[in-house]
Amino acid sequence: MKTSFIMNASARYVLWACVLLSLFVLLRGHNEPGGGFIGGLIGALGFVFHALARGAGATRAVLRLQPLTWAGIGLLFGILAGLPALLLFGEPFLTQQWLGATPIGTTVLFDLGVYLVVLGFALAFVLPFMEA
């Protein structure tokens, strides 16, 4: 498939713009609308655009790992976010822990996990269609 020169040239920048925007949405989700789910979808959009312009093979090279592997890593983050409560603080699983009075805590890790799971699954679903 021949794609336009403009699309081809802009693919890389659109990809990183999308990833940056998705990370902003991810962090904004802490107290305002946003979060891991919508962030992951925006991120996936960037990669899908990249795949449209340059082919799924090039996108897989940018991703380095298999999409499902990213989803697995995300799931691990989600679990890790819930474990400190159980292991260290004697509280039920998923009780969120905070770094003193700061807004930084295990929820950030949990949201990042959601982000990666959504991103990974979306790409694991879409990329094979572009290769077929």
Binding site: Q66, L68, T69, A71, G72, I73, G74, L75, L76, G78, I79, G82, A85, L86, F89, G90, E91, P92, F93, L94, T95, Q96
Partner: protein, 504 residues
């Protein structure tokens, strides 16, 4: 404070969740995936055994995830029934994971097999421990997604055909369930099962409760393959590869039965006189349709699929009568049935390997070629038909006794007749596959030897041993089932464990 209960309730979900994440992340490392699955199987067995021990010692236990108090947060709760189901799920995970190591169909798709199997165990375990309706729905979804993946493993046209039917009908049932959850929330203002159980008697419009509950029972009935919503099961199960069919047959319909028992005992205990006659009708229809369907088929997996349905009928008998003894019968029947059914599907897989086909017409002479296989088939087959001294005899006895005690003679009679027809189907498989001479034109396959033979037959023998153990050393199992039935019939312990002491 994290008590032992917090740990024990979280572990049966944490372990398969970790296994799913790790085996998905390590897709290219076959050896690591196998190691993780093996460690998870052992860990899950130990954790669920500890959970059962704790529930026996302390009664119903509950844990509020993330310290969000009930009825607002996610509650995990285990009574004897739920704990035993979690334990048997762990057993099924271990048995199919071991069998899969010798199964060529799995070995070709191993990268996906490990995460999907763990996800299925996660969904099933979550459904058993969920303390609120919405999470029950979420766990059903987890289970469904994993099972879609598993049923297409093997990747042929036949699998895809089965998967489409399975997916469509199950999605429909899940949607009906979600709608009924929403309506129930509208009626009671809560999703937590224990809270809902307290509030339902206070609702004026009991007709609306009945309508929503009926919708919910229809959704779970479809999941449990109850007559007249069973048709998706025989349309799809026979296409899955052997270990997948085994774990589906063992667990998926039983989650539906579990949910039926929970809803009927917790939410509809009194004042709903329509439940018992409805269940009578469903139980009788399910038993008869299942066993007649099995009698008509000549393909081993189709016969076994129809027998899942007929056996579900026995469990529904327990729900229909709903005395503590009848509920104990349903619990014992589920425990027995899960072990036996998984075992039969695993044996069917070995028969395919040994004889080249699932079709009874072209099979033959297996008894002379492999008497051990014949013996390992005979144990679950006779147990399924309810022949003493195997587990099925005691399970049927419980159900029949509660039926006669309650004066439900017709239903008990149907159950007895179903048992006899079950024996007919099992004898049919035995006569055709094992006893008759090899039909002419059937090529002789080389015997299964070496490590593969051990990997395939070890889980079969292990499950057979459990069947015999329940059959011969019945007392602790019967006592456990009776205690579980008592707990289900009187719901106070469950509600108190979840909600804490009720403030005046």
């Amino acid at each position: 404070m994290a008590t032992r209960a917090d740990w024990l309730l979280a572990l049966p979900l944490l372990l398969p969740l970790l296994a799913c994440a790790a085996t998905a992340a390590l897709q290219s490392r076959r050896d690591l995936q196998r190691g993780i699955t093996a460690v998870t199987a052992v860990g899950l067995l130990l954790a669920s055994a500890a959970l059962v021990a704790e529930v026996i010692a302390r009664g119903v236990i509950a844990s509020q995830m993330g310290q969000w108090p009930a009825p607002f947060g996610i509650t995990l709760v285990a009574d004897l029934f739920a704990a035993s189901m979690v334990a048997i799920t762990a057993l099924m995970y271990a048995a199919t994971a071991l069998y899969a190591r010798g199964d060529t169909d799995v070995l070709e798709n191993e990268a996906l097999w490990h995460p999907l199997l763990a996800a299925l165990a996660l969904g099933v375990g979550g459904a058993f421990l969920a303390g609120d309706l919405f999470n029950l729905y979420v766990w059903f979804e987890v289970m469904l997604i994993a099972s879609f993946g598993l049923i297409v493993l093997g990747g042929g046209r036949e699998q895809l055909d089965g998967a489409v039917k399975y997916a469509m009908l199950n999605l429909l049932a899940t949607t009906v369930f979600l709608i009924s959850v929403g309506m129930m929330y509208g009626l009671t203002g809560t999703l937590n099962l224990a809270d809902m159980a307290r509030r339902i008697p206070e609702i004026e419009n009991q007709g609306a409760v009945a309508a929503v509950a009926f919708l919910m029972l229809a959704a779970f009935g479809a999941k449990a393959a109850v007559f007249p919503l069973f048709f998706w099961l025989p349309a799809s199960y026979h296409t899955a590869i052997a270990p997948v069919a085994a774990i589906f047959a063992a667990l998926l319909t039983k989650v539906g039965v579990y949910a039926l028992i929970r809803i009927v005992t917790l939410l509809l205990p009194e004042g709903h006189a329509w439940v018992a006659p409805l269940m009578w009708f469903l139980a009788a229809g399910t038993m008869v349709v299942g066993v007649l369907g099995a009698a008509a088929h000549w393909e081993i997996r189709r016969i076994l699929s129809f027998h899942i349905i007929s056996q579900i009928g026995y469990m529904i008998v327990g729900i229909a009568i709903a005395t503590p003894l009848a509920l104990a019968g349903a619990v014992l029947y589920m425990l027995h049935h899960i072990v036996v059914k998984a075992n039969l599907f695993l044996v069917a897989g070995v028969i395919r390997r040994a004889g080249g086909t699932f079709s009874l017409a072209t099979l033959g002479g297996l008894w002379r070629r492999d008497p051990w296989l014949g013996l390992l088939f005979a144990i679950p087959a006779l147990s399924l038909a309810g022949i003493p001294p195997f587990s099925g005899f005691w399970a049927k006895l419980f159900v029949l006794k509660s039926g006669f005690d309650a004066g439900w003679y017709v239903l008990a009679g149907i159950a007895l007749a179903t048992g006899i027809l079950t024996l007919y189907s099992m004898l049919k498989i035995w006569m055709e596959a094992f006893w008759k001479e090899v039909p002419e034109g059937t090529p002789e396959l080389p015997p299964i030897t070496g490590a593969t033979r051990w990997l395939l037959l070890a889980p079969v023998a292990g499950l057979g041993l459990i069947t015999i153990t329940i059959g011969l050393w019945t007392e602790p199992f019967a006592a456990f089932a009776l205690a579980a039935g008592e707990q289900l019939a009187s719901r106070e312990a469950y509600i108190t464990a979840v909600m804490g002491v009720i403030r005046p």
